[in-house]
């Protein structure tokens, strides 16, 4: 436990003592903010139009749902931004240690590979949590000016967080494979994109295969979270996906020593 915390703290300090954490968080907030603004203004315009129509036809004002029309698409967009931002957070975790030789310190200290993998994974997970919490400011604005439903937002955020952890766990894995950070990041993005887009293919192949493929799609499982539906089957999928990435990292580090690193 102490080793795990030591490694996690070191990684966190290294994120925050370099520009990485600030740049990634700042730009993530910026791009999410732009989309939040667009979606929110769009929603406001729709409300105004609906209001005018209602007055014109002398009908009751229809209830427009801010959760479904602004927050859900925003969370979907954020899941895509995270896909491009998180591999940049995870790419250095092992690649950098390999390049600078500090991996020799790590692997000759009484620290198990599980401790170091979980430590690094947690550090990236905490940075991602901070990124998501800060976007909560936008939600606060919605609460000030509207009446969104809290439960649905929280479920959506939970889904977004789990999805991000999937990116991070495979980000860790790809960074154990190479000492080149760019290669680690690009491989992670490509790999995740494949598991993202696999659902789109499902419509083109025969239904039995399509059904299986869509179960493997990362974003398909996110859909229910976005709607505010919490289903354990999605939770199980994400947790399995995360475990798989961490397990592969473990195997990769263990096997590297036989190959000669």
């Amino acid at each position: 436990m102490r080793n795990y915390l030591a490694i996690m703290n070191r990684e966190l300090k290294s994120y925050f003592s370099s520009p990485i954490a600030y740049v990634v968080t700042g730009l993530f907030l910026l791009i999410s903010g732009i989309f939040f603004y667009l979606l929110a203004t769009n929603f406001v315009q729709m409300c105004m139009r609906a209001d005018m129509q209602a007055q014109y036809y002398r009908m009751a004002m229809p209830k427009l749902n801010v959760n479904m029309m602004a927050i859900r698409p925003l969370l979907h967009n954020m899941s895509l931004f995270a896909l491009f931002f998180l591999p940049l957070v995870t790419m250095r975790l092992y690649s950098d240690e390999k390049k600078s030789g500090t991996i020799e310190l790590l692997l000759t200290s009484p620290v198990t590979n599980t401790q170091s993998i979980l430590g690094k994974f947690s550090a990236a997970a905490i940075l991602y949590l901070i990124m998501l919490l800060l976007t909560g400011l936008y939600m606060i604005l919605l609460f000030i000016f509207g009446k969104p439903e809290l439960g649905q937002i929280l479920t959506g955020y939970l889904g977004l967080y789990l999805l991000g952890l999937c990116y991070i766990s495979f980000g860790v894995f790809f960074s154990t494979l190479t000492d080149n950070q760019i290669i680690a990041a690009v491989s992670t993005i490509t790999f995740i994109l494949v598991f993202w887009a696999i659902g789109w293919v499902s419509g083109m192949v025969n239904p039995s295969w399509g059904n299986i493929l869509s179960h493997f799609s990362l974003i398909e499982h996110f859909d229910d979270f976005g709607k505010g539906v919490f289903d354990t089957k999605h939770l199980v999928f994400y947790v399995s996906f995360i475990t798989m990435g961490l397990f592969l990292s473990f195997v990769s580090i263990e096997s590297a020593k036989w190959r000669g690193r």
């Binding site: 490694i7 300090k13 290294s14 030789g101 310190l105 790590l106 200290s109 009484p110 620290v111 000669g260």
Partner: protein
Amino acid sequence: MIDVQQVTRFFGRVMAVDNVSFQVEKGEILGFLGPNAAGKTTTMRILTTYLPATSGTAKVAGFDVHDQSMEVRKRIGYLPENPPLYPEMRVLDYLDFVAKIKGVSPSDRKKAVADAMAKTGISNEGKRIIKQLSKGFKQRVGLAQALVHNPDVLILDEPTVGLDPKQIIEVRELIKSLAGNHTIILSTHILPEVSMTCERVVIIDKGKVVAEDTPDNLTRKLSGSQRVHAVIAGPLADIQNALSNLPGVTKVQHLGHTEAKQAQQFLIESKAEKAISPDLAKSVIGQGWDLYELKSESLSLEDVFLRVTTTEEEVDRQ
């Protein structure tokens, strides 16, 4: 303290370490000498549990490096060829982190870090960021990192590489001062370093141990002959003749004459048990020639090194 038995390591089809065995006693400094790419680093990496051996066993402090690697890791301090430093960290934070992952208890950590810094002479650099340190200081931080948990065994891979002459002397003194409390393995391809710091030398070449002894014994055993350098004035042919006829002399080499052209320089090699200098002096004086200089040369470790590694090549060719 360290017991290496028939360790072999392949990288693919390339054999990096070939059936290496050696022992190191507690408190000893062992020099690990060899040309670049001889297998020194691989052997050290096997000892530090960084790489597994393809076959053979190695034990550190009684623990097997493969089966009980965590126990071994607690007892070793390792300085790889490039010191494993996180450039963005401060020296104090870095050493504190290393102490943590090496298992130093929280109550002892502050003192352990301070001690390691004092030993390596970086007590005033604690607040500095590692990136901004000079090469010499980085090397010291690397050494402090290896020492921080007061390990039984220190494994240092070319600890003086890239340092200036003053720093090299300081690091050597430091290493010497650590012997006794720590068992040290030190690799290098710089020969004087071994004769200056180590009590015992293992010479390794192309993955094989080619010689193992104290630096003095190695020189004596492997030379097998004595060499005398003499400067004599007189007729060249007669002198050569006289020198060749001395008992035990195997080779007389004329090196040329002195600057003033009044005397000739010779290098005489002999297999004789007893020193040949007295006989040589008597003979020269008896002939009425002038003896300007008479100096016996011992084989330097450098010669030994070349000799072992070149004979090795000849064996390979057969």
